[in-house]
């Protein structure tokens, strides 16, 4: 069964999407990708729509990707980067959003440091809310572009062995990817030190292991997640050097995966920590393709959430 619409008014996470909705987004993204190959990389689909990119956390990559996607659809876009000082000045997230709402944006793309910030906005605002990353909860468009990249290379998602390695506890990319890949029938393995694996991880439908060899063996896709420097402070890992020794993706470990395996990373990378440079720059890496696909996937999400006609009566 295919669907031609997303059920919700917002995109708060992959958890709320059905496999059919995910497929719809990916299929639509394919058509959107073609727009980026034209001499005039613009279609009038979202002409006259106002989209606000409200970023409470700094981000060049995701914000730029959304901006380009919005402009390619002819929307009017406005990016607001809120520094910590504004938050400290006392205006709550709710008030910031309500003030924005009063100017009637059609959609708000929100990135925020608190898990659940998009849910809060969704309850308060009439605008469609798109989650560009909330705390350690979800980053749905990242998982969608990851899936798009995998599907492009492997022609399918179902039945693939996908190994995700890194700071699983603090990663919103992980949660979104776990939801998406398990919904689409992939065999998901997660790997990291016990200190960085969330409690009850098996309940998410994945296999957890502390052995990177086991995780990567015969994998079709290996996805590396960022280890942040601050993790040493919470006593999560003794040192980044030790992390690289035990969990770093090296060429030797890569050889355990399938010969046609692909290497992915949401970026930005810590070379020499979660991934060796030779692997990041090597022939198996699709890291730059992920970035390119981000625009198409975000165009698809914006288009599908922007609303449209009730029926297909064309002329």
């Amino acid at each position: 069964m295919t669907v031609n619409a997303l059920r919700g008014k917002d995109l708060l996470g992959i958890a709320e999407l059905s496999p059919e909705e995910i497929a719809l987004i990916l299929d639509t993204a394919e058509a959107m990708k073609e727009v980026g190959t034209r001499p005039i990389k613009k279609v009038p689909a979202l002409r006259g729509k106002t989209i606000v990119n409200l970023f409470f956390e700094p981000s060049t990559r995701t914000r730029t990707s959304f901006e380009i996607a919005e402009k390619r659809l002819s929307a009017d876009t406005l990016s607001i980067a809120i520094g910590h000082s504004s938050v400290v000045k006392g205006e709550t997230l709710a008030d910031t959003a309500l003030n924005l709402e009063a100017m009637a944006p059609d959609m708000i793309v929100l990135r925020h440091a608190s898990s659940g910030a998009c849910h809060l906005l969704s309850r308060i605002c009439r605008s469609a809310i798109i989650n560009a990353g909330d705390g350690t909860h979800e980053h749905p468009t990242q998982a969608l572009l990851d899936a798009f990249t995998i599907r492009e290379r492997k022609k399918r998602l179902s039945g693939l062995k996908v190994a995700i390695v890194g700071d699983l506890l603090h990663s919103r990319v992980l949660r979104s990817n776990i939801h998406l890949l398990t919904k689409m029938g992939a065999n998901v393995w997660v790997c990291g030190p016990p200190t960085l694996i969330p409690v009850d991880i098996a309940r998410f439908g994945v296999t957890a292991t502390h052995s990177i060899d086991e995780a990567v063996r015969d994998a079709d896709v290996v996805m590396l997640l960022r280890i942040q420097l601050e993790r040493m402070e919470g006593a999560f890992v003794p040192s980044l050097r030790e992390y690289f020794r035990v969990f770093g993706m090296t060429e030797a470990r890569l050889r355990l995966a399938r010969p046609d395996a692909i290497i992915m990373h949401p970026g930005p990378m810590n070379r020499g920590v979660e991934i060796a440079s030779e692997v990041a720059d090597g022939p198996y890496s699709v890291i730059l393709e992920q970035v390119a696909n981000g625009v198409a996937v975000r165009m698809a999400v914006l288009y599908l959430l922007a609303g449209g006609v009730e029926n297909e009566e064309a002329a």
């Binding site: 608190s114 809060l120 909860h137 979800e138 409690v199």
Partner: protein
């Protein structure tokens, strides 16, 4: 003034009474409890069949927020909320602004309570000055001013050494020490129970062990000092295990459970409203197995008290991202319906045990009058309507703050009326009890 409550089912476990009796109140005290008492000029109220007359309920864990946080609640609004919830008395926590670590604040609270003239208020003083965990507060002064216990609630006593000293010192007055049991290093900046639901929502977790470690510490020191130690808002299986073991060994440990910990679980983080800040409290809502363990402890006597940990917060403070919201929910006006519906009607305990949990034991632990309808006791009486259909209406709460997750809940059982010193301080308009 004479008042005769006629024909109700009287539940007075201390005096071994459970049956239809008349209760005669004179000059604010219980004058007689018996069958077919003569009227003799008393104002008569016929108690409808099925209604229960019991010693007034006492909530030994309430945050009245005054002085200093009057935007959340005041003593006046707090006691109004209390009597609407069927409570004749509340013990209020010292984490006000300033902290209640001296006679001035204690007396101010008592003065406000006298002015409001509704429920009795028993202040609880701080263990340490400012509750900062460095120097002991002037505990004798607090006792003399009217405090009935000490605590640094909001947080645990800072070190084992200070806790030991406080237990020894307060033991001199036989004042119980009430402890918010928690190891702060394990809690860290956690905001929800460390489990599947918090992991799915990307919320930092607070493991059960954080609470249990605090309980174990307190139990050992209570044993060492011989002083009374009370575990506030218990919520986990390992905590209950430690309390049971301590009681078996004869240690002077008691404990309380809040209604949200025997009704809700951490699933409430996602349903019905994901990231609802009205389910954020400390200790957090735990797993179903913990909730069920609390029910078992309530039934088998391991749990001594049901106390609400009534923690009002202003709407603006809760209308924020989950990890920025303050911990706590109000509970005075939902405790009785939840207890009647989820404990009594659900078959876990009988009404008599409920009276023990909410009246007899709190009075005993705090060493305050109440908990019985003995002749000469103050006429603090709660009249319950165990079969009344109650719908929790947030807009009708008398508390200044409305931060509750129970809005809209349909429950069986409620409060019909509350009397303090023989005076009617609350009548439920929906309970069809003709009480003047």
């Amino acid at each position: 003034m004479k008042r005769l409550l006629r024909g109700g089912r009287v539940l007075d476990p201390v005096n071994g009474i459970d049956g239809v009796r008349d209760v005669l109140i004179e000059e604010g005290r219980i004058s007689q409890v018996g069958r077919d008492l003569p009227v003799n000029g008393a104002t008569v109220t016929d108690i409808p069949p099925g209604f229960v007359v019991c010693p007034g309920l006492i909530d030994m864990h309430v945050h009245l927020r005054e002085p200093g946080q009057e935007h959340k609640e005041t003593v006046a609004t707090g006691v109004a909320s209390a009597v609407a919830g069927g409570f004749v008395a509340v013990a209020c926590m010292p984490n006000t602004t300033p902290v209640n670590d001296n006679a001035n604040v204690t007396l101010q609270i008592l003065a406000k309570a006298a002015e409001a003239n509704l429920a009795r208020v028993y202040p609880i003083g701080a263990v340490s000055k400012g509750s900062l965990g460095e120097l002991l507060a002037d505990i004798a002064e607090l006792k003399q001013a009217g405090c009935v216990a000490i605590t640094d609630d909001g947080r645990p006593v800072s070190t084992a050494l200070l806790l030991r000293r406080a237990l020894e010192y307060a033991g001199m007055f036989d004042m119980p020490l009430i402890e918010h049991c928690e190891d702060p290093s394990l809690t860290g900046d956690g905001v929800a129970h460390e489990g599947f639901h918090a992991a799915a929502l990307g919320l930092r977790g607070i493991p059960s062990a954080a609470e249990a470690l605090g309980v174990e510490r307190g139990v050992l020191l209570s044993e060492l000092t011989g002083s009374a130690f009370h575990v506030a808002h218990m919520s986990t299986r390992p905590s209950l295990r430690a309390v049971r073991k301590a009681k078996e060994a004869g240690t002077r440990v008691t404990c309380e459970v809040a209604p949200h910990h025997f009704t809700l679980t951490d699933e409430a983080l996602t349903t019905p409203i994901p990231y609802d800040t009205n389910v954020k409290m400390n200790p957090p809502l735990r797993e179903a197995a913990d909730r069920d363990a609390m029910l078992a402890g309530i039934a088998d006597g391991s749990v001594d008290v049901i106390a609400t940990d009534h923690a009002p917060h202003h709407y603006d403070e809760k209308q924020v991202e989950f990890d920025r919201a303050p911990f706590g929910i109000v509970g005075l006006e939902t405790a009785v319906p939840l207890a009647l519906d989820r404990l009594v009607h659900a078959g876990h305990i009988g009404l008599s045990r409920l009276v023990e949990l909410m009246s007899v034991n709190p009075a005993r632990i705090l060493r305050v009058p109440g908990g019985s309808l003995s002749v000469g006791a103050p006429a603090d009486v709660t009249i319950l309507a165990p079969d009344l259909q109650v719908q929790v209406r947030v807009d009708r709460l008398r508390s200044l703050s409305k931060n509750t997750p129970f809005g809209g809940w349909e429950l069986r059982g409620g409060v019909a009326a509350t009397l303090v010193a023989g005076r009617v301080v609350y009548v439920n308009p929906d309970a069809s009890l003709a009480l003047e």
